[in-house]
């Protein structure tokens, strides 16, 4: 890796990327994790109860 400046970070992502292959689809693990996270957040946003919506009966 041609890193310009050595920087300290807790998790070093400057190693060769890992990729997942499925037919014509090729996606980096990083991108896949990001997309799955977004879908999970979307699902959570819709399913989790929002404050103040308890039934007033």
């Amino acid at each position: 890796m041609r890193v310009a400046l050595s920087t300290m970070s807790a998790i070093n992502l400057n190693h060769p990327g890992r990729y997942v292959h499925w037919g014509v689809i090729q996606i980096s693990v990083a991108n896949l994790v990001l997309i799955l996270l977004m879908v999970a957040i979307f699902a959570a946003a819709i399913l989790l109860p929002f404050p103040g919506t308890r039934r007033r009966k």
């Binding site: 310009a4 400046l5 990001l34 957040i41 819709i46 103040g52 919506t53």
Partner: protein, 230 residues
């Protein structure tokens, strides 16, 4: 306290057509956006889901993107290659952009499944969609102006797509100076204006109501779903 009686001149100033251009702009603005519609402290009862926070989350992320970009601008485009602090600031700029794009897309998914263009809100959708595209363009020019291997590769690849349709003749991705100015001046301004228009439209039309409930008595409910707004 005794009130001073209005003179005939004062009475004239109170009439609708007074105030010149300033008066006209003020009256138009107040008519379109009465203060308690511009900044309401209540929302319709159906605005009660976490999905609704992703619009404001996107705007908050946009502000952090601008702020971190502004700090990078203080020391110029080469700073982050030469300084650990500069590199850290660059990292904040990158991750605020990742958050910005992620929140915007989640907001888009939510608005799509709510069919939020209903009820004459097509322009809200359109300004949102164009903001998304302008944001992609802004991110693209950001990648071009990193001045590292990625910039060299992205620019020499992207030129082919843009040249093939004639755009590359005017928008030269190999021209660092041009791309930097688009990235820090023109595109953020464009995105900013679009976001302002988008939010004003939401304030103007209100948050889109739910699809009519299933046992609604109004037959008209199905006829107007997804209808083309006037």
């Amino acid at each position: 306290m005794t009130a001073v009686p209005a003179s005939p001149e004062d009475a004239a100033l109170d009439r609708e057509e007074s105030g010149g251009w300033t008066g006209w702009v003020r009256r138009r603005a107040l008519r379109s956006f009465p203060p308690d519609q511009l900044l309401p402290d209540k929302q319709p009862i159906y605005v009660a889901s976490w999905i609704y926070v992703f619009g404001v989350a996107t705007i908050a992320a946009f502000i952090v993107v601008l702020a971190t970009g502004g700090i990078l601008a203080l020391r110029g485009p080469a700073w982050w290659h030469e300084s650990s602090l500069g590199h850290y600031v660059n990292s904040t700029h990158l991750w605020s952009v990742e958050l910005f794009m992620a929140f915007m897309v989640i907001h888009l998914w939510g608005k799509f499944f709510m069919a939020a263009w209903r009820g004459k809100r097509a322009l809200t959708w359109i300004t949102g969609a164009v903001s998304f595209l302008a944001s992609i363009g802004t991110a693209f020019t950001g990648y071009l102006t990193q001045q590292n291997l990625a910039s060299q590769w992205v620019s020499t690849q992207a030129k082919d797509g843009l040249n093939s349709v004639g755009i590359g003749s005017y928008f030269n991705v190999l021209d660092f100076g041009q791309m930097l100015m688009w990235h820090i001046v023109l595109l953020p301004l464009g995105v900013g204006l679009l976001v302002v228009a988008h939010v004003l439209l939401v304030r103007r039309h209100g948050v889109v109501p739910p699809f009519p409930p299933k046992d609604a008595h109004d037959v008209n409910s199905t006829a107007t779903e997804g209808s083309v707004p006037a």
